[in-house]
Amino acid sequence: MTRSPRVLWLTVPSLVWFAVFSVGPLVAMFVIATLRWKGLLYEPTYIGLDNVTKVFADPTFHAAVRNSLIQVAVAIPVMIPLAFMLGYHLNTKPRGYRILSVLYFSPGLISISMTGMIFYGVLSPNGGVNGLLRGLGLDSLANAWLADPATALPSLIAIDLWRGIGWTAVLFAARLASVPGEVIEAAQIDGAGRFRTMWQVAYPMVKDYVRTLTMLQFLWTLFTSAALILLLTKGGPGTSSTTLSYLVYAKAFSMRDLGYSQVVGVVLLVLGIAGMALIRVLLRGDNR
């Protein structure tokens, strides 16, 4: 029998690779957070916790915390329940469900840079949304969506929802397909309404999966908003659409303060872990 522990050596190349390119940079983040480092071409000097003091006193950082909290607090509670209901509906194979699932699936194929370019056109002052509003005679509602401090962040959240709901719904549908059909039918024969069957029979059976996807969507929303913001608003006007994720990027590359950037990176990591713990508590598997 060759079931020797030696074979585990075969995991070493992948572990080394992972350590060098993923774990290493993650650890380095904590080191860079303690340095005064004005751009990548300069020599850094150690300044300890001075960056932390600077960051926490900066109004831009406060705005970024607020915007990030708004972003996840709106996007996730809207996205997950809607996606679950649409996924449940998709799983009952309604008429035309093939077309629906192809459409719901397609944001999963389109990269963030393509999404940015699509909405650059759709949301521009002479773009699709305003064209639609004028066509409906609602000229007064037309707006420079990305250039107005009141609508820049909401527009970005709307794009998160545009891509996230359908894609998550397809994932829920794939998971619900593994729930035995008899269970659902039995509940309906017992006279349970459709809404009750969905939330009181189907939901508890896939609760663990709902929790996993909620965590993943939360982390994606919190961490990866920088790309779309870079493409569409550059954090503005002012700081109205600056999130923590974008601040990490902007401080390092446009404002040349790497120490500041990485303090924000650490804050982001802490918020990510805290948010996951919160989701775990809120969606506890109580095995009902």
């Binding site: 992972f18 009952t92 056109g121 999966y209």
Partner: protein
């Protein structure tokens, strides 16, 4: 089953919201700016195929597509070369060390690569690979490893123990067991991982932008496309460029939509 008008209406309403920007993109690709502004949702009065050529030449999309293909292919080969042996080892071992390795990859799966963007740029500079395609080829597999290893391990665990024993009695070593028994049986998993990670590599944006950069001879298609935006953007050309870069993915999807859907859902269904 009973009728459920509300669910039907809502599901199609959302489908419409999803489709509208895509339709707007497709018709804009064949129009001038003026026509995009004045008749946003109408079909083009004159089909302006010229936009596609302008986009292709202005953003140098040919070279960019080539760079994207090159980076994605090398990265996927490297990913499989690292992940398949690791998954084989994990599927065949059940001790504390194996659980520690699995735990490390499970934790790594949760951390979005973006978290360490800036230190990764520093690493690229230290390695002398800043501004090259090579760094992406080396880096992307690392970000793909946790999920790839975990998924492949699940598939390799389905190999029947009896089969392994009889092959081992015939004197098969690790290499023959891996190539003749485990990989063939875990083939659906290998295909899923390949599709899923190829799409991820193809679509990667921020690392390609900050490390490989915007120089026309090395930049990927994701980086090349946004260069069409300027103070006076020609929206028709931008839309045409977007269509050209989304198209390869949609063609792949239409050729193998079931396999692709399986692969992408597998990526998130992993537990």
């Amino acid at each position: 089953m009973r009728k459920r008008p509300l669910a039907t209406v809502l599901s199609w309403l959302y489908a419409l919201i999803l489709a509208a920007p895509l339709y707007y993109l497709a018709v804009s690709a064949l129009k001038t700016n003026i026509e995009i502004f004045t008749r946003p949702f109408a079909l083009p009065a004159a089909w302006l195929w010229e936009n596609f050529r302008t986009a292709w030449e202005t953003a140098r999309l040919g070279q960019a597509l080539l760079n994207s293909v090159l980076i994605s292919l090398v990265a996927i080969v490297l990913t499989l070369a690292l992940a398949v042996p690791a998954a084989y080892a994990l599927a065949r071992t059940d001790n504390r060390a194996a659980r520690v390795v699995t735990g490390a990859f499970s934790a790594g799966f949760l951390i979005p690569p973006f978290a360490a963007l800036i230190p990764t740029v520093v690493l690229a500079i230290k390695m002398g690979l800043f501004g090259t395609r090579e760094f992406q080829m080396l880096f992307l597999p690392a970000s793909a490893l946790p999920l790839s290893v975990l998924l492949l391990t699940q598939f390799m665990r389905t190999v029947p123990a009896a089969l392994v024993e009889s092959a081992a009695l015939d004197g098969a070593g690790h290499w023959r067991l891996l190539t003749r028994v485990f990989v063939p049986i875990a083939m659906p998993g290998v295909v899923s991982v390949t599709i899923l990670q190829l799409l991820t590599f193809w679509n990667e944006y921020l690392f390609a932008l900050t490390i490989t950069g915007t120089a026309p001879d090395v930049r990927t298609v994701q980086v090349a496309l946004p260069t069409l935006v300027s103070d006076a953007t020609n929206l028709g050309v931008l839309a045409a460029g977007t269509v050209l870069t989304v198209l390869p993915v949609y063609i792949a999807y239409s050729l193998m939509n079931r396999r692709m859907q399986e692969a992408l859902t597998a990526g998130a269904v992993k537990e």
